[in-house]
Structures are given as C-alpha cells and as structure tokens.
Symmetry: C2
Subunit: 478 residues, 2 copies
C-alpha cells in the first residue's frame, strides 16, 4: 500500500511547476518534512546524491591543495559583531542559543549562518609568518539561517554545504583563488551535474555581506527562473583588519592577510531536479546517480531469468553503480518507480533475451530502448551513461539559450516578460544602483550577474538611457 | 620562529599525563581552542585523521546495508519530552535556541545532544508496513552537550560523531543488530586503530537514557584509565511506543518496531593518543595516519638527492600516503616534527644512499632503523606499516593485561589501587546497585562493563560478600 503511493501521478510541470517540484522531492523520497518548521530530514536516496556530490567536489578541492577542517557551530555575539557589514547582513536571520543546560548564558551564541568570523578568529592565532601562508581550508557542515519562507533544498532554515575559507599573502593571490574556485564550481556543474551555468560578478547590491567582490554561477531552471548555484567571495583585507589577522611578511614588516570564501550547498540538488526533471520524475546526472543502472528481471519465475539478471548485476557492479530489483512488484510498477527516482538506465532481461543472449537498455532521459548483446555490456552501459550526461547537458543548454532575451529598455523588458515569461534578460546597465532597483520594481527582475563573457549589445542603460558599458544578466531568482 | 615552537619538548608522560596529553594535542596541531568555551576547532591534521576513521568505518556500515541520512540539528522541546527517561538524561545538558532572527520562539529548540527523538519522529511517518523494515540508518554529524569540564576530544561541548538508528520487525532482530554493531566497533578498533578493547554490557546504572540495555567497548589508556570508546543500545519498543512507530505486521495486525542506536565519536582520536603516544608525541596507527611515510632528503643540495627523493615519493604514493618534506629546515628538526605528528615511517635518502641504491627506513613506534634496497621499496614499506600496526596493538594489549587486577574485596581493591594505581579491576558483583555505588565512594572506581568473556574468579560479591555470579570490570573512566 505504502509503496503504491510512490508512483501515483505527479503534477505536470506545465500545470504547476512549484507543485511538480514538491511532488518529486517527496515521491522520489529525497526528503521528509519534520516537526521543526523549515528544517528537513534528508532521506537515504537524497543523501546518497549529496554524498556523491561531496566526494567528487572534495577530490577537486584536495587536488588544488585545500584541506578540510571543522570549526565550532557556535559564534559568540561579540565575535559576529566584529565586522560591521557582515553582522548587519547576517544577524537578522540568526538562531540564538541563550541557555546552556539550566543556565542563562552570559553571552548569547549564534548558530553559524556562515563561518567567516570563526575562521578569522582561528587564523589570528595560527598565522604568524608568510611561511604559514596560504591557508587553504574548507569545511563540510550545516548552517542555519532563520528564513521566513522555505522550500526543500532551495531555501531551508538549516542546510548542508561546504565553505572554503582561505588566507593569502597578497591581494593578487587571493583574487586568483576567488576566480579559481568559481571555475571549479562552474566546471563541476557542467561536467558532473551536466548543468550549464553562467559565470560572472555580482553587482554591489547583491554582494555578500563583508565582501569586496562576489562571483557567482547562475543556472537556469526549466521554468526560466535563475538559480544562484555557487558563490566565491574576495574579501581583500577587510576581515583581516577587523579580526587582526597579521603576519610577518617577506620584507620584515607586519601585513594583513587577504582572504576569500566560497560555497555550494544542497541547493545544487534542487538545481538538478529543476534542470533535468520531467513529468515522470527525477532525471539524474549519471555521475551523481546513486543507482546508475537498475536491473529488472522480466518474468523472473521462468528458468534462468533471475540467475542471468543477478549475473549481469554483478558484472555491471564492477564498473558502475548497479542494483537489481528482485521484489515481487510488477515490472510496470518498477519501471515507473525507477523513472520517478531518475535512474539513468534500466536494464530489462527476460526469457526471450536469454535465448538471444541479449538484454534491453532503456534510457531515462529519452525513453529510447535498445536491444544489446550481453557480450561487452559493461562498455555499452558505461558509454551510454556518458552519452546521457552529454544529452541532458545539451538539452539544458538549449533551454537556457532559448529563454535568453536581449532587451534595450524597460518597455522592451516588460513586453518580453509578458510575452515569453521568465528567462534570462540580457540588458546594458550604467552601474547605478538606482537603475537596478527600478528594474526590480517595474519589471520584477533582479541582476543575476555581470557575466565574464561581456557582449556589448548596446551603448545605453536599459533603464535610464545614460551611457552604459556593462552587460548584465537579469532574471527572477529562486 | 612559529615552527620552532612545534618541536619544543613536551611534558613527559610520567611527570604529568594530563599535561602530556594537552601538549600533544596542541603541538601535533590537531586542534585549536576557540573563543567558545568547550568547543574546538579541529585543524587539518586532526581532521584528516577523522576523515580516515570516517571513510573506513562508513565502508563497514554500508557493507552491512546501512544507509546515511541527515536529520535536523534542532529538536523541539515537546519532541524531546516524549520519552521520559531520555529527556531526564539529556535535558540538563542541552543548549537551547530561544530566538530566531529577532523573534522569541514560541517553543524553544534544543541543539541535538543525540537524535533518537528525531529518528523516531521520522520513522513514525515513513514506516507503514513490515515491507519497510528494517530501516538501517546512520548519520555523521556533530552534537552538543553542555558539559561543565571539557578536554580536547574526550569531552567537549560540541563533538563530531556518527549515530546509527535502526528499526526492526522483531526484538530478536534488533538485539542482533545491537550486538553486530558492537562487534563492528570492536573489530574496527582492533584492526584499524590497533587498539585493544573489552566488549561487554553496561550495568543498569551506566545505561543510556531510554535504553533497555547498553553495550560498550572499553579501552585502556597508557595511564591505566578506561576510555568508553563506543556504545550500542537496544531500545526494545519503548521509543516506538512513546513516538507511535507502528507497522502493519505479517499477521495482519499492527506492531511497534524494535529499535537500536549506536555511536562512536572523535573521542576515538583521544583514545589513539593515549593508547599509542609516547614522550616524543603522537604514534599513529598506520591505517589512519594522514601521512604514512615521510620522505626526508639528506644533504639535498648534493647532486641527485632531491630528484631521487622525489622519485621515491612518487613511487610510494601509488601504494601508501607518502609525502616529501623539501623545506629548508634541518633534518634533525624534521625528524622531531614528524615524530611529534606520529608519522609511522620516515624514509631518509642522502648521497651515500644514492651510491648504494638504498635508503634508510625509521619506524616511529620503535625508533628502529633499517637500511633497505630501493628495489621493491613499495613492498618493504607496505609490510612495515602492517608490522607497525601489529606491534603497537601488541604493546597496548600488554599494557592492558599488565594493568588488569583480580580483586575479591573492598580492602583488596583499595590495596591494589594504592599499590598499583589505575587499571582494570576484575571483581565479582551481586548485581545490587548499592554495591556499585559503594565501590564508587569507597574505592573511587565505577563499573566499566560486564564483559562478554565471563570468567568466574570467585563466588561472592567483592562489595557485600553475598553470592555473586557476574564478573565486572571496574576502573576510573575518562
């Protein structure tokens, strides 16, 4: 009974995108709502996706010399207060611990919303000389931000993430690190999550609290909305001055370190759902699919079928994440269930296949069926997984390109939005914050980024008409 | 300058064991104290040890069918209140969140001290039928207990751990899981941490809050004190009844699930330090050593030395975690530093070695030096690492056995403790809690466990003289 509910129809995407998303999140068994508002339980299937993201991203961090650490989850209020912009940005959404055991605390502690202050505090003690630099630290933890409205993976009060925090001798080095890590995120999204992203810089308005500059990767969801998928911040020596992080430099003097921070979160799972999913459920990028191939024996009571299915599963397991479903549910039910869960390839094997020494492979992304000889099935499957990754990337890129519009004025933007709905709007901007705010008010869009790939599509600000030399991507953000 | 401090002398173990421990923790760069009392920053070297523990233990969990999940870090007070014994045990040491953003919360939230309540709440929603069982869940998170006195790794207000929480159809299955996981911990300690442990059951007094029975592995530290290193709890259906976790059973009725939980923490790192360390610093078990072999070029300005050292490092890296130290610190300084950090093998290569196609291997555990031919060095090193693991295990076992004493009465125990200091005391016990409390008061020892390996060393309770059929291990606990 309980299992049946799983494969009930989900709301079609075109009918109600938000409901479609919520349906997938529940029915693919990614999360469970809990008795703490805005906090989720991540279920085994959802957590397995996160573990695959984590493992592969961590390998990339370590290959670049980063080391993992773990700072405390609590920040004393006085520590949070040290950097003015930072505290203003985060204090309003902190959860505060005021009691320890039965006693009122002398100073309240904030549950980390992000850990710049803790890293700076630590750096002020462990960095003495230029020989101690750079410090290339990262941590995989959860953070808390007391959001008013929440949605699974996209915005929750507690979420899992990684936060890199680095300290360098020079501004140049720190800036190079900031840019490097944005590139790591961008290539990870493309290569591992098969998710196209645009790289660029945030405007001053959208900058991280306390940063000199913030860089971002922006992805486009199925519905044309933008998802900020990762950010990398350059701090200059602002935090170092606030926290007194000095070192004996090469010239015999004392200098402040230059810092960066960068992070991605479980929000990426929301991005995967809304980039690749369809009306049958999840479509997982092969590299983060907990099950890459599910083996379904057809008419498994017939002689030899189950043995062959098991043998194939074992063979496949040596090269991919394969699993067999031997339960007594009907094949049709199983097909629907693994489609809901976004398993990239379904392998069917039945009595007729046995006779012909073959099996049937069904792709989740296209539904395409292929009859394949069992000899070399490992290679066939591995190649098909690669092809699925490429195909879903291409499809997502096509969606992003199709929904990107060039506009020259407020009227233009409003007409475009009225006619075509959400998407990326490319428009020139003079750099004035007032124009940015006006576009928000009058067109309902915010600046997503000043893309690195600058394309001069006009000479005038789409808002005020004054000379403009910045191309900005605007959109409606999750 | 900063580097020099690292290899300053540490306090000898015999002089002041507690200070020796603190010195190692600091000078091997495992942790940093933070501005939050009782909460530590785990530094890269310390965290790398934890990652190695985590990875290898997680593999063992998964091989037995366990899946990772992630529950929220907050527990609403009303949820914690549901199981009477449990809340009594934990509420006094909870950290409480009372404000979210600028608003007072309607119900205060406890930062999880352990997550039975959250798992039960989740299970009550996701378990409907016997087909949904067993649920074999685990999570790797940090928890908070507002301890009054703290020591790095051994007792901190926040600590990292894993907590397994499982739900089963029957009491027998749940009990088998409880026992199985204790065995997993015991064999992990022995095989991976080279740490001998005694397996047994806790007395009622020492039982986990809310458990029917608690099992433990107890290790002995260098100073004769006991370290509870992992616990596994059988809950029966007590939590299930409190949280209404019912399922449609095989007989068409509704039954409560039977549950377990089990955990180990970063405390294991404290165990490693105090089981294997010596007056030169850490001695790491090879399987969790972030650097297994450090390559030190001697007279590296001489032709060929550095190249050969690099070549050897690359060769070794294919089979072990090897690192070269090319800094301009003196060889003597480097030797001391890697001894402090507990690196199992130091490989020295200098001009004379080059001539003879050899190198020198120095074992951290024994100080023994061996001149080895470079041909097949990978195998030599791998075999030596295995041998080091076995040797430090044997040494620790010898310490444990040497410091284990059989006693028949309170006088006996006091004489033994006065003459020999801390250790494991084996004494018969009648099962009366009053006797347990009396031994605590009069002899300063607490029951560590009723070991599975029961050895009848007498007929009478060492405390009251009444008939006794339980052998108990007593000791002074960290």
């Amino acid at each position: 009974m309980a299992e049946k509910k799983l494969v009930e129809q989900i709301t079609p995407m075109e009918e109600d995108f938000a409901q479609w998303y919520t349906d997938i999140v529940k029915k693919a068994e990614l999360v469970d709502y809990t008795s703490v508002k805005g906090c989720l339980a991540i279920r085994p299937y959802g957590y397995a996706i996160w573990e695959l993201i984590q493992r592969q991203m961590d390998d990339r961090f370590k290959a670049l010399g980063h080391e993992n650490v773990c700072m405390p989850m609590f920040i004393p209020e006085s520590l949070l207060d040290k950097e003015k912009d930072h505290v203003e940005g985060f204090a309003p959404e902190c959860a505060w611990v005021t009691m320890g055991g039965e006693e009122q605390l002398a100073e309240r502690l904030c549950v980390r919303p992000t850990s710049e202050t803790l890293f700076c505090d630590h750096y002020s003690r462990v960095i003495q000389s230029y020989r101690d630099l750079p410090k290339l630290y990262n941590q995989w933890v959860s953070v808390v931000r007391w959001e008013k409205t929440t949605r699974p993976f996209l915005r929750t009060r507690e979420f899992l993430w990684q936060e890199g925090h680095t300290a360098h001798e020079t501004a140049e080095e720190a800036m190079a690190e900031t840019e490097q890590m944005l590139k790591v995120y961008a290539s990870f999204c493309r290569e591992v999550l098969n998710m196209p992203v645009i790289e660029g810089q945030k405007t001053e308005k959208e900058r991280f609290a306390g940063a000199v500059s913030t860089y971002t990767i922006e992805a486009m969801m199925h519905d044309g909305k933008a998802l900020q998928s990762g950010t990398s911040h350059y701090f200059g020596d602002g935090f170092a001055k606030a926290f007194d992080v000095k070192f004996a430099d090469r010239n015999g003097g004392l200098s402040y370190v230059h810092q960066t921070s960068w992070g991605v979160s479980t929000r990426l799972i929301g991005g995967i759902i809304m980039t690749h999913g369809d009306d049958s459920g999840l479509v997982l990028p092969p590299k983060v699919a907990p099950i890459q191939v599910v083996v379904i024996p057809i008419a498994s009571h017939k002689p030899g079928v189950l043995d062959k299915a098991r043998e194939l599963t074992e063979r496949l397991r040596k090269v991919v994440r394969a699993r067999i479903d031997e339960t007594d549910n009907s094949p049709g039910w199983k097909f629907a269930q693994y489609e809901m869960k976004g398993v990239p390839i379904r392998l069917e094997v039945g009595p007729r296949d046995l006779e012909n020494d073959q099996c049937v492979l069904v792709r989740r992304d296209s539904g395409e069926k292929t009859v394949c000889p069992l000899g070399g099935i490992e290679n066939t499957v591995a190649a098909m997984l690669d092809d699925i990754g490429q195909s879903i990337y291409d499809k997502a890129l096509e969606n992003m390109e199709r929904r990107t519009y060039d506009c020259a004025s407020v009227e233009d933007i409003n007409a475009c939005r009225a006619g075509k709905g959400d998407g990326f709007i490319r428009a020139m901007w003079c750099g004035d914050r007032a124009c940015e705010e006006k576009l928000k008010e009058e067109c309902g869009i915010s600046s997503r980024c000043i893309p690195f790939a600058q394309d001069r599509i006009g000479e005038k600000c789409a808002c005020c008409g004054r000379p403009a030399d910045k191309l900005v991507i605007w959109g409606v953000a999750y």
